[in-house]
Amino acid sequence: MATAREPRPYLNPYLAGTLLGVVLFLSFFLTGGGLGASGALSHIQTGVERWFAPGHVDRVAYLAEMGGAARNPWASTGVYMLVGTLLGGLASGLVNRRARLETRKGPRISTRTRLLFAFGGGVIMAYGARMARGCTSGQALSGGAVLSVGSWMFMFAVFAGGYAVAWFARRLWI
């Protein structure tokens, strides 16, 4: 029984994928670069770190590249894209009545466990994303569409890593 408050169903995955593919193509066509999220996280982190330890940001080569000396880590195209991603997700969530304060988790774990693992998973995920020079969107999607050898290798590595631990982590999800 669908009431007015109930969330609308999700889009067919193939249709959603086509939509995502068109957005990805437009990104290449207009800017010459693909989509991404993890690079922006790095810029934001550098920006925050600069408030507390500007000297440190200047000294560490990896950080200085984004926000050393006169460079503004916030004024990055990736950060603009990240803000757009948040707004796009929010807009779609509102329209489809899916924007509500809640925690999504597997049936056998507590909310606290889920949140702990979400945080820890975020740490691992972002660390791996920086190591691989891109996340699922920046490497797998964008590099995959322009047929980069490394991106396709990366994609298989992500699935391999995931399936390798899935069985041990099954209590989290099923």
Binding site: T31, A75, G84, R104, G121, G134, L147, L172
Partner: protein, 430 residues
């Protein structure tokens, strides 16, 4: 021709363009259901393969559109960012991410959408992500050689396999259709019918039509192939045509010599003549390149990716082969490439070889005839060096003031070389 040079945009313009693309990205992820961690994690328990379906569809659709736009001359692939391949760090990073994916239930992009729709787990994941990138920045110094290992640069599957782009796209389409068929089967087998029914586009006919459309597009690309040299030249922007017509790309040997003195620049001379002509005489430090090799992958790639301070000069006996090669390179988007005006003949007119070694042939436009092979042993090969004690000459000549020392007159020239900096395009994760 696209892509547009976004480096010239104002902050507001840049924010609008990239923010707009991000908006579409976020909306598409949310519509696919990627704000819900259970939908993502289900991929790893084969209950629901939405992740595979959405990602692979997106990749295939974008790959077909990108390759199509390139094939029809709408998009200049040399200016599109292709993620560089670093074999080991990408494999290791991918494995680590796979673990993080299963434990945390998101990837960075999807966690943003989850956080934006007020999912608390999504917000925690984003926070964890900020800590993760911080940790990486602090620790990468400890294993930097590993992080930089296996660097193959910009390497596409078609370059790697040596096949056409269309063939690879067709292969990717076939792989995707096979994966979709397999995913449907797995969902029926393991999903137990628990997957929520999507609202639109359920019809079997619609699916088959879409699959057929993709396959046809892949085949068209495979048959159509890459644009020919003539097509590329016709699509090249007006200023490039102007460089050829207005002879802006033809640089006097005297300017080449002046630039060779500039230690801030890396000047390379590519000699397109046959080997025997090369052996008789060539410009000092030049590299002999077969004209056909220039159109092939390693040479072309090294020219397209040359650092901004590199200037490349193409040289022939006259200008025929160098002009043809220039046209090809310019239409592929190579920057800072020029033709040596008048070729080796003009070079030797300005910096003549000793009369006992070579003499100019009779008649207009005739080349120089050498008595024996000199390679780059003559001072004429190195006019920028004022003192070259190591030259051992077979005969005393008037062009040498005294032993081991020579000076050429300062030949006047019109300055034509303008160093162009390629706009740097980087992916969102860069």
């Amino acid at each position: 021709m696209a892509p547009f040079d976004v480096s010239g945009l104002s902050t507001l313009g840049s924010a609008l363009v990239f923010g707009g693309i991000g908006f579409g990205f976020g909306a598409a992820l949310e519509l696919a259901g990627f704000g819900d961690t259970r939908k993502l994690a289900a991929q790893f328990y084969l209950r629901e393969l939405t992740v595979l379906k959405v990602m692979f569809t997106a990749i295939v659709v974008a790959a077909v559109l990108v390759a199509g736009a390139v094939s029809f001359g709408l998009l200049d692939m040399s200016r599109v960012w292709v993620n560089p391949t670093f074999v080991w760090s990408e494999l290791a990073g991918g494995l680590v991410m796979g673990v993080g994916f299963v434990l945390g239930g998101f990837c960075p992009g999807t966690s943003l959408v989850a956080a934006a729709t007020f999912k608390v787990d999504g917000m925690l994941f984003v926070l964890g992500g900020l800590v993760g990138v911080w940790l990486f920045g602090e620790t990468v110094g400890a294993f930097e050689p590993f992080w930089l290992s296996g660097d193959l640069g910009r390497l596409t599957i078609q370059d790697w396999l040596g096949v056409s782009t269309g063939a690879v796209v067709l292969g990717v389409v076939a792989l995707a259709l096979l994966a979709f068929w397999g995913a449907e089967w797995l969902e029926r087998r393991f999903g137990g019918g628990t997957a929520p029914a999507p609202a639109i586009g359920r019809g079997r006919r619609l699916r088959l039509t879409a699959a057929a459309a993709l396959a046809v597009a892949g085949m068209v690309l495979a048959v159509r192939g890459e644009p020919t040299a003539e097509q590329r030249w016709a699509w090249a922007p007006h200023p490039v045509h102007q460089l050829l017509a207005g002879r802006g790309a033809f640089v006097s040997p005297a300017e080449v010599v002046a630039l060779r003195k500039d230690t801030a620049l890396s000047v390379q001379v590519l000699d397109l003549r046959e080997e025997h002509a090369w052996n008789l005489f060539h410009v000092g430090g030049a590299r002999r390149v077969d004209a056909t090799a220039l159109s092939e992958s390693p040479e072309l790639r090294s020219l397209l990716e040359a650092p901004a301070s590199t200037i490349t000069f193409l040289v022939d006996d006259g200008e025929a082969r160098s002009t043809a090669a220039w046209r090809w390179l310019a239409s592929r988007g190579a920057k800072n490439v020029y033709v040596v005006e008048g070729g080796i003949t003009r070079w030797l007119d300005l910096y003549p070889a000793p009369a006992c070694v070579a003499e100019k042939g009779a008649g207009e436009g005739a080349g120089w005839r050498f008595a024996y092979a000199t390679g780059e042993a003559l001072p004429s090969s190195w006019p920028e060096l004022e003192r070259s004690r190591s030259f051992r000459l077979p005969c005393a000549t008037a062009s040498l003031e005294d032993e081991g020392e020579h000076r050429w007159p300062e030949h006047p020239f019109t300055k034509k070389v303008k160093l162009q900096v390629r706009s740097v395009v980087k992916g969102g994760c860069g």
